[in-house]
Amino acid sequence: MLTETLGPVLIANRGEIARRIIRTVKRLGLRAIAVHSEADGDLPFVREADEAVLIGPASPAQSYLDVGKVLEAARATGARAIHPGYGFLAENSAFARAVIDAGLVWIGPAPEAIDKMGDKINARNLMESAGVPVAAGTREPVTDLSLALKAAESIGYPVMVKTAGGGGGIGMSVAHDDEGLAKAFEQAARAAARFAGDALDGPAVLLERYIERARHVEVQILGLPDGRVLALGERDCSVQRRHQKVVEESPSPGITPELRERMLAAAARAGEAVGYLGAGTVECLVDADAQDFVFLEMNTRLQVEHPVTELVTGLDLVELQLRVAAGESPEVRAATSGHAIEFRVYAEDPKRFFPGPGTITTWEEPEGEGVRVDSGYAAGNTVTPFYDPLMAKLCVYGETRAEALERGRKAVDAFVVEGPKNNLPFCAELLDNAEFVTGDYDTGLIARMRGLR
């Protein structure tokens, strides 16, 4: 197998995703190298790797985001390939280029594809020309408030304001009027400066028409070296707080088979338009009432919620990423069956969703048929304030959605986490919520549950 040429594989990430990637790397008979900060030395991913390298202090800028230190660790350990996971350097094309220039295999799409899709304005324009529907919005970076006000006037309120280079919901907010826009613009500009990873000449902000009763549905794609781009089903990610996902499921309970077919075809077209290689995700907004969709953005990496797709397809997406990176074009069965739901177990209070780091005194994961837990922590570990609050992903599978929900209830009850604040009580509440249970929900669900709207 060509993948033999990849090892050892260095995983430039932490927590649950590093652990999950290590599992597949080792199953394929390759050595797995972890890198970690001073804050993470005790975490399971460090222990489970064949070799681990301390690359710096807790601050991400001095460890997981430090390209020089990651490459030095690769050189010192003889790694031949680098898997970036998600977040951190995963969508940093300069890092991808540096990896390739160092003579290593980059487990991800070509740096050019990352560049084309990483800028949300560019991506939006590119998708439009590839025949993928997009929302009314700005086609050039909006660099100051007066331009934003002018754009909002022509698009019409409400508008979604976001940073061209951002991700993960950071810096995104909805504006309903000029006053709200001033606030939203300032917030986006600040986020652009702080989290964009690379320096920008000025804030590049994007405005788009905001759909009030929208579902967030995304399509998993896989680009193969032989030029084919496969669509591996969709994930519904409409359960969100602060524009960040909390629960994902597949198939989406909110789209018709006809709409699903159109979305999968458009996603494959989107991938073909950039010559996409490997695993990627095409995110769309679905107008639930009109059963229509628009392109939102493309994530050029493995997604947090990829296990949902793995459960309904039976595929190992990390294995497919490795095989594609090694130049293989495997035969992949794109069909799905059954129903999967993922609950993100966050270290946050279950009412207001504010961060609640702390030391874990008890950690008991549920087990059983149709239950999968991808976790980054164990009892005795400390969840620190330096990284995102994701502690684990609780995934359940059933033949039907009803069976998945029932397994979800039992698994949430059986998951015991003591120490940090955690949102398991919220997950239990959600599983009893009529909107969620019927499947007829949208991105406003959590706000309604909390009486915020």
Binding site: I170, F354, P355, G356, P357, G358, T384, P385, F386, Y387
Partner: protein, 70 residues
């Protein structure tokens, strides 16, 4: 006199006010950052910032004193 304390472990990202500043109920005193989230800490009274106990870059624990408003 009102003490403003941290609700969680966090990094002090930005200090907005200085000792001696006059503030109103709802004004942002400092902005904390924890788990990639910005958390503004606000005055809950009108008054003067008598003490400011944190500096940018500090890591503070739940319950730590941030400021005293008089």
């Amino acid at each position: 006199m009102a003490e403003v304390r941290a609700e969680m472990v966090a990094n002090v990202w930005k200090v907005v006010v200085s000792e001696g500043d006059t503030v109103s109920d709802g004004d942002t005193l400092v902005i904390l950052e924890s788990m990639k989230m910005e958390i503004p800490v606000m005055a809950e009274d009108d008054g003067v910032v008598a003490q400011l106990k944190v500096a940018e870059g500090d890591v503070i624990q739940e319950g730590d004193l941030i400021a005293v408003i008089e």
